[in-house]
């Protein structure tokens, strides 16, 4: 259940950002979760709900946006759909592939009542 540690890190950042911007109530937290990470979105939400009580994020829900794995062949320039998790280029067979998305675990935005 590493989602608990991940939820804790997430909450720490949310609280820090809330303080920095003088926000007293966070309504929603937008998070991007890459498909090629070991994070189960439902269990992240579950853990977040467990630990948010008594913080500025008490009333906040997580808005999780899954990001599919994709890449760019560094040799022939082909854009690669990598949903099969093949890390080489089907056009030119090159293994010199750069992952462009799908491995991120990122807090995108925070929505508040204020402002």
């Amino acid at each position: 259940m590493h989602e608990l540690s991940i939820a804790q890190s997430l909450l720490d950042i949310v609280v820090e950002e809330a303080i920095r911007h003088g926000v007293s109530k966070v309504r929603r937290v937008g998070v991007r979760v890459g498909a090629f990470t070991n994070v189960v979105p439902d269990s992240l939400s579950f853990c977040f709900d467990l630990i948010k009580e008594g913080t500025v994020a008490e009333g906040a829900e997580l808005k999780l946006t899954p990001v599919p794995l994709a890449g760019l062949c560094q040799d022939c320039g082909a854009e690669l759909d990598m949903s099969e998790a093949v890390f080489s280029c089907p056009q030119c067979q090159s293994a010199n592939v750069k992952v462009t998305q799908g491995q991120e675990l990122l807090i995108d935005y925070i929505e508040t009542d204020e402002g």
Binding site: S9, H21, R27, N38, A85, F87, I107, Y109, I110, T112
Partner: protein, 216 residues
Amino acid sequence: MAELEVSRPILEANDRLAQANRQCFKDAGVKVINIISSPGAGKTTLLEQTLTRLKDRLRLAVVEGDVQTTEDAQRVAAVGVKAVQIETRGACHLDGGMIARVLPAFDLNNLDLLIVENVGNLVCPVEFDLGEDLKVAVLSVTEGDDKPSKYPVLFREAGVLLVNKIDLLPYIDCDIERIHATCRQLNPSQVAFDLSCRTGQGVDAWADWLEAWVKA
């Protein structure tokens, strides 16, 4: 309603600690590997076999991540190599902070290689950078040839794949070629060894490779 743009990686705090560890290893000139597998795949047995072969060729030390007991650290110490135990008390992975806290127990300047045995788990340890140079995945043939496709993130991130317990191949139904084919798709530059920590088959080749990698 107001929206604040944040754009921060959730694991940035761990990544900072891991990066500080990495700098510390680099300054001391010590290489670090992080061994990851499911429980029982043979990490500690692999350590015993590897350390026996390398302890007169390299200056070695071990960090043992274990949920509760100090048994693994004792097995390593019995080979004559310094081992420090991290008891995670239920946590399913080591993180950068736990490693940072045990580093003062080592004389890093007088080490060539520090080996970390992570908590037995194919999922959680992968998300937490420790500051290592290399992840080593150990998969035993009794776990099934479908594991790389079921746990692709580990087998992608691992620079080395060790397929262990090949002494048991005659008794089970495991297509070792399937393991290698999947791992090649996930990480075409991965280095792979088939071995048995029971019979010793293949262990010399791995140990020689590791020594050369440390000295490179």
